[in-house]
Symmetry: C2
Subunit: 435 residues, 2 copies
Amino acid sequence: MKEIKLGLIGAGTVGGGVVKMMYNSADFFKKLGLSVVLKRIADKDASRLAGLPTGNAIISSNAGDILDDKDIDVVIELVGGKTFAKDLILRALEKGKHVITANKALIAEYGPAVFELAEKKNVSVNFEASVGGGMPVIKSIREALAANRIFSVKTIINGTCNYILTQMSEKGLDFDTALEKAQKNGYAEADPALDIGGGDSGHKVAIMASLIHGGYVPFSSVSIEGITEITKDDIDFAKELGYCIKLLGIIRKGEDDDLVDVRVHPAMLHKSHVLASVSGAFNAVLMEGDAVGPILLYGKGAGEMPTASAVMSDIIDVARTITGGAQKRIPMDYYRLDNKLEVKPMDSVSMRYYLCFRVLDKPKVLASIAAILGEYRISIASVLQKEGGAENCVPVIIITHKAVEKNMQAALKEIEKMDFIKKKTRLIRIAGQAY
Amino acid sequence: MKEIKLGLIGAGTVGGGVVKMMYNSADFFKKLGLSVVLKRIADKDASRLAGLPTGNAIISSNAGDILDDKDIDVVIELVGGKTFAKDLILRALEKGKHVITANKALIAEYGPAVFELAEKKNVSVNFEASVGGGMPVIKSIREALAANRIFSVKTIINGTCNYILTQMSEKGLDFDTALEKAQKNGYAEADPALDIGGGDSGHKVAIMASLIHGGYVPFSSVSIEGITEITKDDIDFAKELGYCIKLLGIIRKGEDDDLVDVRVHPAMLHKSHVLASVSGAFNAVLMEGDAVGPILLYGKGAGEMPTASAVMSDIIDVARTITGGAQKRIPMDYYRLDNKLEVKPMDSVSMRYYLCFRVLDKPKVLASIAAILGEYRISIASVLQKEGGAENCVPVIIITHKAVEKNMQAALKEIEKMDFIKKKTRLIRIAGQAY
């Protein structure tokens, strides 16, 4: 049996988890009918390797040592980032090595270059760990559900945001305090911008949309809104109406749609929605396929060991393929710059809306708002007027029926000009009740 | 590219779904880089094929025509049952054909004979559709989570039972009425014994336990109790205590356990448990791995198209393997009669219990019950005494702390002898709160 030799670059959180899982793994691989060894580990900061069970692996501070080792069959890139990591991966592919990566930003933004080279060199790039940690999101899309037309995905795919929103909802914290708590408890990076700004969810959703719809959905075409504007009031009012607020990734394409709707934004979910109960750092992916119906994956979408579990899943897959005598298993030739999928512009998306106006407490305000909404063919489903707060400023909450985003933004612009508007109006989209 | 030729035997519900999904699938397979055709379909009842889009497939009423066709690479057995189906599968393997089946009873009871022959002939037997319909249960266990030690599984894996229990809980129906409704709505077979008796769940749990723990867990060693004894009172009392009742499949093996705990029985789940919200005909599998943590799959575990989706997933897998130049991908050599895993006897399992005694409304009854429980080292967590019903017969509900099954059964036997016991005592095990 061929012994498959791995080289791991990057021994940070996830890399450390992989080293732990590879330690003493010979018996385990033998049971699977495979022979796999971690031959080399490289990290520019050798101190990160000190506490890890590196066994017989050759340690180096130079990633080039792994690329130059002709024995290495598979390079595992866990460096992160988009410059050095991209260079590493391209060099590894150029040398005919298979690649495993957890790098969602790289796959979402530079996937076409990576896959093009991989196809040319007839090796595989595996990226299960890039989306949803230990949940088999990529495997389910590319394998288990591959015969389905997946017309809808709704996903909570960033643990940091979900932790913050859950803390705000359950503990009554404001955004800044919840963010601080997330950082203190290791659920948020020191620089949380990519998480709370929605970019991380956007990367993952772009990858999923590409795989599901068989083309390249550029990250830059995904409409992204993060959670930084969400206030405690939003959450409290939502709760009062029977909703919770989640950062949602959405991918939709009906049978007759030409464009694929791909976006990330905060959304109100009715508390009976299956995703409403996904709390804390947990993630979930709800997919609807024409044959399989609704299917949900739920689990830890990040963290050392769940993400290492996904990398191990890729290692096993690659090892099985090579051991079976093949080079590759799943072609990625559709993930190309000249096979871009056009994304539905946010302007033309239609949803229900939650609006919270902060208005002067005087007669005819509601009538004026309703009139402007009406002009833009936005019809009101329900109204909740709260008793006023400070400065004679009362919140008026309106839930609309389905409306087109463009009309909604135009109506809001007009309403915002009115003299009775005291503060910026809050708009949160409402996700459909269907699975 | 090699054209892979399929032969389908059995065009019932699931077979019909596969025929529909295979129809016009050439473009789809081309996109996946594969060439797959449904060359032959056999069903002894030709009328079942009349309404199906069989395209260019050669129709026959004789399964032997498929086995005898040297061109056929893969035989899809969707006949069901354990005699004819077993014979078909063994003959197909003998002829060096790959096999795909949805037959859980066959895999659970005759898996060793099937896999032994498959290993000998170096072909694969694929059975994703045997457990959990369109949910990738087998794929997750054998591939995505293969590097995890899965120490706990809790699963709602029979849609018929879950539909009946949900109807009883939500609509207040009694068991017989709920069963009738399930049959009327196509959620239960005319002969529902295998479903409501727990056997179907037992087959699925035996297969999962075998794959997870790398040996053969014989179906006959799984302790199985169905839902036929569950009454409306049980469900109402459970609800009052904050619980629901589900038919649960359980697989547990701690790091220090020699034996694997595999069983199926009704269980009370606290309403905050993630499985408590799985209602109607939906299924769910909650697995806990040492690396991945808790992970949940949720979806439709049965029915024409969800199960056909799983068969398609197997077709794609086999086609990818063959097209890549390999014969097999995942060895099943551990699933052998001489590699049986010993199952923990039900007697030695320890859980919390719900007990509902029907007693004469007279003094000292509770004291007597408590005394006997105490003799068997069963300690009481809470008591709920209900106002009496007819015939001076009152329900006394006791929730115990963890107790060993053997002690519980012995204590109950003794209590049942007491003259104040008016009806048979109800015992329902309580599933732990952990994920």
